[in-house]
């Protein structure tokens, strides 16, 4: 991105008079605004898609009232959330209560700095891209525990604690699954990982033809991704039938919207990361952006599909699946992938 700005400064005379620091700051803010706008639109589309798909999977229509086939339902909902009264419970810790949604949102927002949409359409080509995404996802955990504790409600506290246990454990198999890919690409940058994969499906890391270990790693990464974004069958932190709404029970209005958008953004990030790591990113028969978005939205559809089919696990089973199923499998995959990368 910096190279583009530099080229821009060189080509346009007026910009040379302005100190570079101001131009860079302006560019960063502009980038943030663009990403924020993109996230909002994507979250709205996803919420609409989720409700519509859920409706049809359950023999009903889903939203139908606002606009043709209810396409403006998400817009109406966001206006409603913006206008709603913003309440803070009496027993809440006011500062942390207000800070938590911002942290959750920020944790979901920052990975966009390195997520590529195509070969050139990327904000920063960081050489530790995937490491950056994994580590920043941890901010969300702090935000959620903060929300759960600061709400001053027992059910919220349960939700926060469950999420902490769940996310911390699922980060391990997730990171190990990433390592299987890194063993082949030899690099942590998302560009280099994408370049290690070819145009066609059998050249992607998700295909057993390329390596059986990364293919299993793909499944492990996706399942761990489901868990870290609190999607069914791992949606214990907000388990409706047990905890009412989990950590965001006490939130309303805009703060609730932050959680909501944060959740959908996190889903998008996980799916985009899966697409880059295992499904060849922007490689494919179509122009780069189309490939990338197509893969991401397909993975998002699978997430929605799973959610409206499966029951939820119990907390001990969630940890069992992580530590006794995914962890050994991913360890075997890492060793296998390393051997394959060295020997073949």
């Amino acid at each position: 991105m910096q190279s583009y700005i530099d080229a821009l400064i060189q080509n346009i005379g007026i910009l040379q008079q302005v100190p570079p620091l101001i131009i860079y700051t302006a560019a960063i803010l502009l980038g943030c605004a663009v990403v924020f706008g993109y996230i909002s639109v994507v979250a709205m589309i996803m919420i609409y898609a989720e409700r519509k798909v859920a409706g049809h999977m359950q023999s009903r229509y889903g939203p139908m009232r606002v606009g043709p086939h209810g396409i403006l339902q998400s817009v109406a909902d966001s206006i409603k959330l913006l206008l709603k009264e913003d309440t803070v419970p009496d027993k809440a810790h006011r500062f942390l209560f207000k800070l938590a949604p911002l942290l959750v949102f920020a944790g979901a927002f920052v990975p966009f700095a390195v997520l590529p949409f195509s070969e050139h359409l990327v904000i920063s080509r960081m050489n530790i891209g995937i490491f950056y995404i994994l580590s920043l996802a941890a901010i969300e955990v702090i935000g959620v525990i903060m929300a759960g504790w600061a709400s001053g409600s027992k059910w919220s506290l349960y939700g926060g604690m469950r999420l902490a246990a769940q996310m911390v454990s699922y980060e391990i198999p997730m990171a190990l699954a990433v390592l299987t890919v890194v063993a082949f690409s030899g690099h942590l940058g998302l560009h280099e990982i994408t370049h290690a994969q070819g145009k066609w499906p059998w050249e992607w890391f998700a295909s057993p033809l390329k390596s059986p270990f990364t293919a299993v790693g793909f499944v492990v990464f996706y399942i761990a991704g489901l868990a870290s974004t609190k999607r069914l069958p791992f949606d214990l932190p907000e388990a409706e039938s047990e905890l009412v709404a989990g950590f965001h029970t006490e939130y309303s209005g805009m703060r609730f919207a932050y959680f909501f958008i944060g959740e959908y953004t996190a889903m998008y990030v996980v799916c985009a990361a899966t697409a880059v790591l295992f499904l060849g990113g922007w490689n494919g028969p179509f122009p780069g952006v189309v490939n990338m978005l197509g893969k991401t939205f397909f993975l998002l559809f699978v997430m929605i599909w799973l959610r409206w089919t499966l029951p939820r696990l119990r907390i001990d089973q969630v940890i069992f699946v992580c530590l006794k199923v995914l962890l050994p499998i991913s360890l075997i995959c890492v060793i296998g992938a390393a051997l394959q990368a060295v020997l073949f």
């Binding site: 999977m57 599909w305 089919t309």
Partner: protein, 143 residues
């Protein structure tokens, strides 16, 4: 050994049954929804539906049987005279109380009160839920 076998059996069973379940929801995704878009599309109400009453004032002989049988006394009947010459001033049914049990219609000797197909009872005040059938009939007659 058995625990190890169970462990792998569970993993395989989980993947297999989840796939089958996904098939069921996918099949439903492409079938036609069964719900109605309610205020635009109305459900077809069968004959003999137990909705809001219809009342034929000219048939009523003010025998008071419906008032007596009503389990919750939601019918108010005021009249002068008896039998066919009765003049009915008031026949109110309070739908905040009504059980829709159909007993009043069954007991009526002249079949003057029936239950109709109307089921929409929403109103802004409680008073609007009391439907004055006799008055409505009088207004209709005047017109």
């Amino acid at each position: 050994m058995r625990a190890v076998a169970n462990y792998f059996r569970d993993i395989v069973a989980a993947i297999y049954t989840i796939t089958l379940g996904l098939g069921v929801t996918m099949k439903c995704l492409f079938s036609k929804p069964v719900t109605l878009q309610y205020p635009d599309e109305r459900p077809e109400v069968p004959d003999g539906y137990r909705g809001i009453h219809t009342y034929e004032i000219e048939k009523c002989i003010a025998c008071n049987l419906c008032v007596q049988i009503c389990p919750i006394t939601c019918i108010t009947l005021a009249y002068e005279g008896k039998g066919k010459n009765a003049v009915i001033h008031q026949y109110d049914i309070d739908y905040t109380k009504c059980l829709f049990c159909h007993l009043c219609c069954e007991v009526c000797p002249t079949d003057c009160v029936h239950m109709g197909k109307e089921f929409d009872l929403a109103s802004y005040t409680r008073a609007e839920c009391v439907i004055p059938f006799a008055k409505a009939a009088a207004v209709q007659k005047q017109e």
